[in-house]
Symmetry: C2
Subunit: 456 residues, 2 copies
Amino acid sequence: MKSDILQKELLNILGDRFSESESVRTNYSRGEDIFDPVLPQAVVFPNNNEEISKIIKLCNNNNVPITPFGTGTSLEGHALGNQNGITISLENMNKILKINEEDFDCRVQAYVTRKQLNEELKDKGLFFPIDPGADASLGGMASTSASGTMAVRYGTMKTVVSGLTVILPNGEIINTGVRTKKTSAGYNLTNLFIGSEGTLGIISEVHLRLSPIPENIMSAVCHFPNLESSVQAAQEIIQYGIPVARIEMLNKDQMEISINYSNLQNMEIKPTLFFEFHGSESSNKESIEIAQEITKNNQGTEFKWAQSTEEKNKIWQARHDAYYAVKSQGNNIRVYTTDVCVPISNLVECIKFAENEISNYGLKAPMVGHVGDGNFHAAIIYDPKKKEDYKMIRDFSDKLVEKALTLEGTVTGEHGVGVQKKDYLLKEHPDNISLMKSIKKTIDPNNIMNPGKIFD
Amino acid sequence: MKSDILQKELLNILGDRFSESESVRTNYSRGEDIFDPVLPQAVVFPNNNEEISKIIKLCNNNNVPITPFGTGTSLEGHALGNQNGITISLENMNKILKINEEDFDCRVQAYVTRKQLNEELKDKGLFFPIDPGADASLGGMASTSASGTMAVRYGTMKTVVSGLTVILPNGEIINTGVRTKKTSAGYNLTNLFIGSEGTLGIISEVHLRLSPIPENIMSAVCHFPNLESSVQAAQEIIQYGIPVARIEMLNKDQMEISINYSNLQNMEIKPTLFFEFHGSESSNKESIEIAQEITKNNQGTEFKWAQSTEEKNKIWQARHDAYYAVKSQGNNIRVYTTDVCVPISNLVECIKFAENEISNYGLKAPMVGHVGDGNFHAAIIYDPKKKEDYKMIRDFSDKLVEKALTLEGTVTGEHGVGVQKKDYLLKEHPDNISLMKSIKKTIDPNNIMNPGKIFD
């Protein structure tokens, strides 16, 4: 490390949980994003809140930047190291602290992943519904305000997190929020930290609301002759008020890739909707009847039902693996992912625009969409050595963002801003940035917490 | 006004929408709370964001405190005037700006009330579900993070507000949030202002998510032999996962008062649950069957069904009028209202504790509860001339708050902190106050926005 004193003090606190080895620093130098790795000076592995507090205080006193690191599954550069700083891996903070079965809530340490939690919950009749593609850590998901395929029914991290433990840049350990279903006790600090992308402090514990496992779960797949009709069907289903639990679009290119990657049987290479219905047998029956009528009117095929739990899991794992399927399309490729989200009534227009521009630019861009929320991703494969290719992709991305903003949308539905979308955030909220920055400056006056992310 | 210059400048901006008359100042000197009125130096009635911005800038430059005033239905002293300041009534900001039927959202000016909005929505198949007792303004409801009888199903202002227009203490007009169902674009400023009780700026516009009017609505009433069995039944219904739209408790004293005040026919003076089920006919049938079985097991009577829309409205108006019914119990009385909220599994214990202490203190305290959320109110009638009575009530309230906190609850489920619960907030979040205050100081360095509310 540049500072011998800091190195010594960190060693004192952490012993062999402090590492300066190049291989470790490389492992914690980036997320699953398109950026070149940036190696921090050291990586530390604290075991508890008190150790995190000591580390932060030290860094704050020495003006050393900190990058918090969860599972490293960010797509936006959140986890990129800082060459003058250290990276704090939360991986030892992986315990489920408490499950309150009677109240449908739990408290976990930041590194507990969504799958780990659901594994623990499944015998208790409860589940945690927020499911980004990756098996991300719940602290990371809180930091980026993540969502996933079930947000259409169960909300996002903003709605299911009821409290946090946060270690502030001055070393203070605070507990925000409360276990109750509602509270009006002072400023909503919990939701200030959710989506703050590690720039205001380190989230070390997360209190979560859980959902009862539905009595009846039905999963189906429906193919369409073209992208527009699939999205139109999704829009009409939402506008009808059907309480679908999941309604996911995969375009033709994505279906081709996913059928191969996930070995999906009996599926067509066509624009497709994946559905899931949660409820009682009879309420699902009602929902499904209407959904089928709407899809049929939009030229959709008969629903193909997943007959067993294994089949259901296979479909949804394929959906969750969509990004990895795209990444597997070549060695040394990178995948640029867009993340705009628009009001549902503007979704057809926005997706058609994206499809046309992808074709105009001659890009290869499989698309998936959380279409019930108006959110979709184009995953654009490119060769990082070809600088012009990146320029063209960014050009396409700029246009799509402009279009989404004219359609009253947002530049990021769920991936966050990170490094990649700082310019876009300025376009979406030009009048908010000054306030955001003044909050940042108040809480983190030395700018040690994940500097260069969200805004400069 | 103390300052002639300020008086002149406000007159310039507002003309006859600036008033120093004692009767006007008296009308805007308090909410529906227990406090003695505090007359501001003047009351102003701006027509638009730009006027509010000019007023705030003037006040900021002259260090003159501002109290924002909606319908004045706060129970916690939020709307109490400041003797050195001005009160800004939002009552001219009463327009519904846009309803997006296809996307289930709308934008309103701050003074639009929940009933006004629902009147406008009813022909469009949509409704707005957050319903505190009063016909409050939506800006005020955002400021206090309000909820009501339907929060158990539809959430609170925190979950249904997707964006705001806020005028900051420096006069800047900012638009937070976005129309989409989700976003991860930077800090969640919208939720920072929700529940900030006018201490960070003035909310002038609110963007709201709406809900489709359910196909089938069923309302019923069920009496119980004692309070504990009614609350136990509610707890079991929630824990079963039944998606009730409303589940409200009224204790024996409240039933006696409400039967008289609201002229309810065919009701017994006994602890009672008011239910409402929203869904399809068949899904409601399923929910009702289980709810009836649970209430029966807890010694509840057969459900008494509201047979017509008028009957339904009458029941729910009676519930919304519960506080006014208590207030009508005497002239010159005041009503102290508690607002604790606990995890549902601790609700029986908390309500039993309240009931016992009310009896120990010999108080008259009708109780109502949003029991699906773990939130309940004791409304304690007293004579403000008898100082000892107030002391005793506050003593009871202190004990109840302590009990709720040991049960992992919050000191305010939905009414906010205001003036009344500043001590209680310190007890609930001792480690949060410093951060809340630093945010306040950053945004409002001269402490002009509703000073003395939330914290000192």
